[in-house]
């Protein structure tokens, strides 16, 4: 990328955000403005996708709310994201957990964990 653009956006890329990865159960604290009041809203769920880099980086969190699947895409560097808590660690075998979308009930939030490390290729 152009070094000038890098410099402009570098100041807005967050460096102090709790690290998390796809498959983690997270609680995303976002600032919400209502009129002139500001409060913090929490969106808890599983990170199912993580895309982009630099200022454009974003991630998708999926949760089941009253029996209905809800997905929300957060821009990672948004000043509206106050903090991210990682509740559950996991090691899924893939980068995008879109297979959770077709599921219902308890299975809907159960991230499949990779059982073994892939053998090293010669």
């Amino acid at each position: 990328m152009n070094p000038i653009i890098n410099e402009i956006t570098a100041a807005q890329v967050k460096t102090n955000l709790t690290p998390f990865k796809v498959g983690d159960g997270v609680r995303v604290h976002t600032k919400v403005r209502e009129g002139d009041k500001e409060r913090v809203q929490v969106f808890a769920g599983v990170v199912i996708a993580h895309k982009g880099s630099g200022i454009h980086e974003n991630f998708t969190v999926r949760r089941i709310s009253y029996g209905e699947g809800v997905e929300r895409v957060f821009p990672r560097n948004s000043p509206n994201i106050e903090k991210i808590e990682v509740e559950k660690d996991s090691k899924p075998g893939r980068a995008r957990l879109y297979y959770l979308r077709g599921r219902t009930g308890k299975a809907a939030m159960a991230v499949k964990v990779k059982r073994y490390e892939a053998p090293a290729k010669a």
Binding site: N2, I4, I8, T9, K31, I55, H56, S78, P79, N80
Partner: protein, 213 residues
């Protein structure tokens, strides 16, 4: 004050504004532009200033260019020269340097430039003609179709949409908001897209049809 600068399109990115809204912006390196020549009604028949931008390597600059710049007291020869028409006599003098200080954050600007060249294109890309069905033996995919009627008028209307050269046109994008100015690096961030590829020369000026506050 002349609120026109020559510049270079750096590229697009996004920035968060004061309300935490992510805004698409184009980064323009604008100026510093030295005033190279002043034209007036008495000598040239019209009022204008000639601005310069960038620098040429001495080996690439022609003698007339070099001496023209020298006459204005410049050490380097500008890569680009462009005139800005004025309605009255210029309030700047030769050797003055115009910078991004001519603009303020929040104001609207027009950006002029040459669009990306697309070469010889058909009507589907060039004029957004719908084209025909892709399959079912249609044999009429991206063709132009009918271009007129019968014996009356017996000719093809002017401006009938046909294949031809697309792009490389001089275009103006009006009323773009200045999101941010980085004065020490001569950068202006305007909201939205502007003509041309990254690295192309552009002209940035205060909006001619700005909404009155």
């Amino acid at each position: 004050m002349i609120a026109t600068l020559l510049g270079k399109k750096i590229g697009m990115t996004q920035v968060y504004d004061a309300k935490n809204v992510l805004i698409p912006v184009t980064v323009v390196e604008a100026g510093p532009c030295p005033v190279v020549q002043i034209k007036s009604v008495e000598t040239d028949g019209y009022h204008a200033v000639q601005l310069g931008f960038g620098a040429q390597k001495p080996k690439n600059a022609s003698k007339p260019e070099t001496n023209h710049a020298k006459k204005a007291g410049l050490e380097t020869t500008p890569r680009v020269l462009s005139e800005v028409r004025l309605t009255g006599a210029a309030d700047v003098k030769v050797g003055d340097v115009l910078t991004v200080a001519a603009f303020t954050e929040g104001q609207t600007v027009d950006v002029l430039g040459v669009t990306k060249g697309k070469g010889f294109q058909g009507v589907v890309k060039r004029f957004r003609v719908a084209g025909g069905p892709a399959a079912h033996g249609s044999m009429f995919h991206r063709r132009i179709g009918s271009v007129g009627m019968r014996q009356t008028p017996g000719r093809v209307w002017k401006n009938q949409r046909m294949p031809g050269h697309m792009g490389s046109d001089w275009r103006t994008v009006q009323n773009l908001r200045v999101v941010k100015i980085i004065a020490d690096k001569n950068l202006i961030l305007v909201k939205g897209a502007i003509p041309g590829a990254n690295g192309d020369d552009v002209i940035i000026r205060s909006a001619k049809k700005a909404k009155k506050a």
